[in-house]
């Protein structure tokens, strides 16, 4: 009971600080996802035309996923130190982008590859160029899978983004981080709960966007 009271007390006393962390968190994850989409979706599409490379890239990105985030941050410190960016926003951003690649590339690749070959054949036979086929037929029909990949990556990034506070990237991880070093369980709890709520809300938002972006004819 006391925990809950502490929780709400902390929450109301530090409202603006929490909001600030949340904004930082959203900025970090948001920027990472935008960059990830810009890299991952075109790459996933390109890989459908190059089966050999597809195998390699997908394998590398799944290995990427298995590296613990804390280790990845650790690896990047010395590398980015050479340009004076060893800690802070940049390494966190890079790590999040790397983690996002597997779900986004894989889902885009699978989504495009799974478009009914008859539909692709018809598109070709009717005289569409490769680009027209992609934009008018393949991407719209792969949309549900592409969006699912983006959603997975976003939720994943909200979680990993909390760890990025360890390398000074700010965000809601700072609450957890500080809470641990000050043995303040309430702070840790507030941080964890806000991260979870953020993840759930964003997931809902993305589900809504997914619905809007999915062409009407292919919903079931």
């Amino acid at each position: 009971m006391q925990t809950i009271i502490d929780f709400f007390n902390y929450f109301s006393n530090n409202y603006s600080q929490i909001l600030e962390y949340t904004v930082e968190h959203v900025q970090l994850v948001g920027l990472a996802i935008i960059i990830s989409i810009l890299i991952g979706v075109p790459l996933g599409i390109y890989l459908t035309t190059n089966e050999d490379l597809a195998g390699t890239v997908l394998q590398i990105s799944s290995i990427m996923m298995t590296i613990p985030s804390i280790a990845l941050f650790g690896i990047m410190i010395p590398i980015l130190s050479t340009i004076g960016q060893g800690i802070g926003f940049l390494p966190a951003l890079i790590a999040l982008v790397l983690y996002s690649q597997l779900p986004i590339i894989r889902n885009t690749y699978t989504g495009i590859n799974n478009v009914d070959p008859n539909i692709r054949d018809a598109a070709k036979g009717l005289g569409m160029t490769t680009m027209q086929r992609l934009l008018k037929v393949e991407i719209p029909n792969a949309m549900p899978l592409i969006m699912a990949g983006i959603r997975t990556a976003t939720v994943l990034n909200i979680g990993i983004g909390a760890i990025a506070a360890y390398i000074g990237a700010g965000g809601l991880g700072s609450l957890i981080n500080q809470g641990i070093s000050r043995s303040n369980n309430t702070m840790v709890l507030v941080g964890a709960v806000v991260v979870s709520i953020l993840a759930i809300l964003v997931d809902y938002l993305l589900k809504y966007i997914e619905k809007r972006f999915t062409p009407k004819g292919i919903k079931n």
């Binding site: 009914d116 008859n118 539909i119 054949d121 018809a122 598109a123 070709k124 036979g125 009717l126 005289g127 569409m128 160029t129 027209q132 008018k136 037929v137 719209p140 029909n141 949309m143 062409p215 009407k216 004819g217 292919i218």
Partner: protein, 325 residues
């Protein structure tokens, strides 16, 4: 006109799918490509619109080698219909049908008029279906829309790969008949793949029978049925080939060749009109209830009596002679 000149196709891995095929489809002709599964029908069709490369030889489409043509532009001038309709699930029926006109940059008004015309042509109400999606249509309706889409930019040539193959027999028969009506109106040069000899005989001006990538016989349906070029053709068309050929003729064809028995008011006989196919006539005559039929013209004038003996006489004439039609 589509002219196949010594066309061969070898797939990667060495399968010789088409082996030195030569034939011509004249303008406005409806040619059926037929043969057992795997004989190369689809391959031959897809070489015309260059969805497959030609390994050897050439295909001349309206005086131009398809190899030399710009593929994208050429395909927009060829209607293409496939068995699994290939409609785009993400587009409305209107968007689907108007895809080629849209690629060609037709204006909105012209597209709308064309859509309305085509939908009427295939027997679907334009406004009712305009905003629907393919999955909201039955298989037969989807296939009709597939035909409309292929006709959209009024291409002179149509390639159709078993367009009605996946439909149940009743719907298939209906669509075959509808399509024959449509062809009367649009008069396209058509290459149509089928594996059903009845469909081939019923629909085609000519039939091209393939086996193992080689052309076995290319001729009028009546010739394929009455004068099979070899044992394979004979076996493929079936032992009932003469019976099959009866659907090629109408009562009128018979009346032109043999004279009917004279008709007396006292005779009891069922009436048939001149457009009735001989296949129906035979079926009626074999039916216990009528051993003779009375032929009526469009005005209902009784022209004479038709019996099995007369049908037999007519068929003998047709089968024995080699008409150069």
């Amino acid at each position: 006109m589509i002219e196949f000149k010594n066309v061969s196709k070898v797939y990667n891995g060495g399968v010789k799918a088409i082996d030195n095929v030569n034939f011509k489809v004249e303008n406005g002709e409806f040619v059926i490509l037929i043969g057992p599964s795997g004989c190369g029908k689809t391959t031959l069709l897809r070489m015309v619109n260059q969805l497959e490369d030609i390994s050897e030889g050439d295909i001349i489409l309206n005086n131009t080698s398809v190899k030399q043509s710009n593929k994208i532009e050429m395909r927009r001038k060829i209607g293409y219909v496939i068995q699994s309709n290939g409609l785009f699930p993400n587009m409305t029926i209107e968007k689907n049908v108007m895809i080629v006109p849209d690629l060609l940059g037709w204006d909105r008004k012209k597209q709308q008029d064309r859509f309305n015309y085509l939908m009427e042509l295939i027997g679907l109400h334009p406004d009712e279906y305009r905003k629907r999606y393919p999955h909201e249509l039955s298989g037969g309706q989807q296939q009709r829309v597939g035909v409309a889409r292929a006709l959209a930019a009024d291409p002179p040539v149509m390639l159709m790969d078993e367009p009605f193959g996946a439909l149940d027999p009743i719907i298939r028969t209906k669509l075959q008949e509808e399509f024959l009506q449509i062809q009367k109106e649009v008069n396209k040069t058509i290459l149509f793949v089928s594996h059903d000899i009845d469909e081939a005989v019923k629909m085609g001006d000519k039939v091209a029978l393939l086996r193992g990538g080689k052309m076995m016989q290319y001729d009028y349906p009546s010739e394929i049925l009455h004068h099979p070029a070899n044992d394979f053709v004979s076996e493929f068309v079936g032992q009932d080939r003469v019976l099959k050929s009866t659907s090629l003729y109408s009562v009128k064809d018979l009346v032109d060749e043999v004279s009917l028995d004279s008709y007396h008011e006292a005779d009891s006989a069922q009436p048939v009109n001149e457009d009735t196919s001989l296949r129906i006539v035979i079926s009626k005559l074999l039916n216990q209830e009528a051993d003779q039929l009375v032929v009526e013209d469009k005005q209902g004038n009784k022209k004479g009596k038709l019996t099995l003996e007369l049908v037999e006489k007519f068929l003998h004439k047709e089968v024995k002679e080699t008409p150069n039609r």
